[in-house]
Symmetry: C2
Subunit: 321 residues, 2 copies
């Protein structure tokens, strides 16, 4: 099969051994995959990753569970052992023995095929296009915030970071009745986000006093800024895994009694429902779609500061036939 393979350096292979379905799992033919900040981090050495990355996808079931065969699906990316306390508490995504699609112990979506258990797959309604469905994973990650904290709609909320994750988080918060302001560093991106109806401003112009801050900056500076902007007893949601930090001091979080809440993957069901209802339209965030064979260029492109979401198409051409 065709695949993007990382062995310390990212390469495209057109003759990579086919991924086959693991015992009891489904084989999924990937239609579209999205490139996420975590993928870029993996290529920079995060988690000592090797193999096929990619965890945002929409695909078609071509093997396994007969009830799903031929269905268009998205898939939750964490596969737990199924028997530990966390799995039993419906928190498979925190199973200590989990594999994670394209991140940990499981080949990912930057390839023609991937394997996931049927229980991880959700059928995509016909009304949702491939280009929309592929956003299900990051949108689910944004909905996770609303499972962790309760919002009344009256809170002052800031999203730090004008990248793809910040934009998606802000779209989800807005769809659910909150009024977030995005604080970023790239005027051009902020202007594009404003065109989507989002409030967006340069981060340095934000004034302290926010009830909730969602840090999607992907850098330690984002958390430092959040600590400056949050009100006493406010909440910071940490969304992005920053690299090794230096000089981070949480004394102010103690003095001001701030809650810092780590937030990662979410359940797909609320995200898929929101997409089906048309509450969120992520398509304006697509900066480019490239064929999988141009995947190396696609990841380089996704790393550019002014780029939002880059999609990979598993077919050779992204143009309609």
């Amino acid at each position: 099969m065709r695949a993007l393979v990382f062995d310390g350096r990212l390469k495209f292979s057109s003759e990579y051994p086919d991924t086959i379905a693991r015992p009891g799992e489904c084989l999924v033919e990937v239609l579209r995959a999205g490139i996420c900040g975590t993928d870029l981090e993996l290529m920079r050495g995060y988690m000592d990753f090797r193999g096929i990355a990619g965890h945002e996808f929409v695909g078609k079931v071509v093997g396994g569970d007969p009830g799903l065969l031929g269905k268009r699906v998205v898939g939750e990316i964490n596969v737990g052992c199924g028997s530990c306390d966390l799995c039993k508490a419906d928190l498979e995504r925190h199973c200590p023995n989990r594999t994670v699609l394209g991140i940990l112990g499981r080949a990912g979506a930057f390839a023609n095929y991937l394997s996931l258990p049927a229980r991880n797959l959700l059928e995509v309604p016909d009304s949702i296009s491939d280009e929309v469905a592929v956003f299900c994973e990051p949108i689910a990650a944004a909905y996770e915030i609303l499972e962790q904290i309760r919002l009344s709609g009256r809170e002052k909320i800031a999203v730090i970071g004008d990248g793809r994750l910040g934009a998606i988080v802000a779209l989800v918060l807005k769809a659910e009745g909150a009024c977030p302001v995005i604080g970023g560093h790239h005027l051009e991106k902020l202007q594009r986000l404003a065109k989507l109806g989002l409030e967006a401003d340069l981060a340095e112009k934000l004034k302290p006093g926010f009830d909730v801050i969602v840090d999607c900056s992907g850098s330690e500076e984002g958390l430092l800024l959040a600590l400056r902007l949050v009100r006493p007893r406010g909440t910071i949601i940490l969304k992005s895994t920053a690299k090794e930090s230096s000089g981070l001091n949480l004394a102010s979080a103690v003095v001001d009694e701030i809650s810092i809440i780590g937030s990662r993957c979410g359940r797909f069901a609320p995200a898929l429902a929101a997409l089906a209802e048309g509450k969120i339209d992520p398509r304006p965030l697509i900066s480019a779609m490239l064929p999988l064979s141009d995947g190396v260029s696609a990841l380089s492109l996704a790393a550019q500061p002014l780029i939002f979401k880059v999609l990979l198409s598993a077919v050779n051409s992204v143009l309609p036939a």
Copy 2:
């Protein structure tokens, strides 16, 4: 008056100008004061402190509010502006314009007299001795945890740090039905804590999987250890203001969706009630009591690793007359 004065170096003065009551406030004659880790940090440069430190005290009202005159009192240490949103929400201790006894803009308890508003003072029942009442402030800080998170009593809880704060937090948690284990580094202290009926062990022997961890270590290592020991989706309460950190990385807090909650001062009422009911007896934590005139030695003593609480007596002799 007599006072311990810090001007970059700590000195005892027997002829320091008397603290006088601020307009509308009460003048309190200090009977006992406690030395806290924050005091030691202030002497090391924290907050660029200058003046008279000390925020744990029991005293007698000698001026101001006639209803309180002659009463034995303890006092909440934060004095807010009284008119901002936080003050109106009964969160005077988070007022942005607050002064804080012996910490910020207000001379403290390491002296014969201090000034506090009547609303900050709570009368101490006769059943509570001076040596017990002086613990009201740190016990209130421990009760603050129970205002921030709800405990069922079934949680696995660890307290990191075998110092005075860790011991008080563990005593309070135990008094309120939880079963904390203290993780520390000093075998002798752990043995002393075990004699108080507390479960205590070397920190390196604790196994991961705690629902709640209270970091009272006063060091960055405590938070790093807490991040290793807490279960996915667990809670870390940050109690101590660690100094500048290096190498702290919160990626694991994101991946495991940990909540890190800063926790500082608490309301005195629950603490005083618990002391009045005899639910907590802090007296075994008193390592020494010295007269104020030996305050410089007392602070040195309090900085020794095997010492719990050191008290200062404002009278010249700590022995009964």
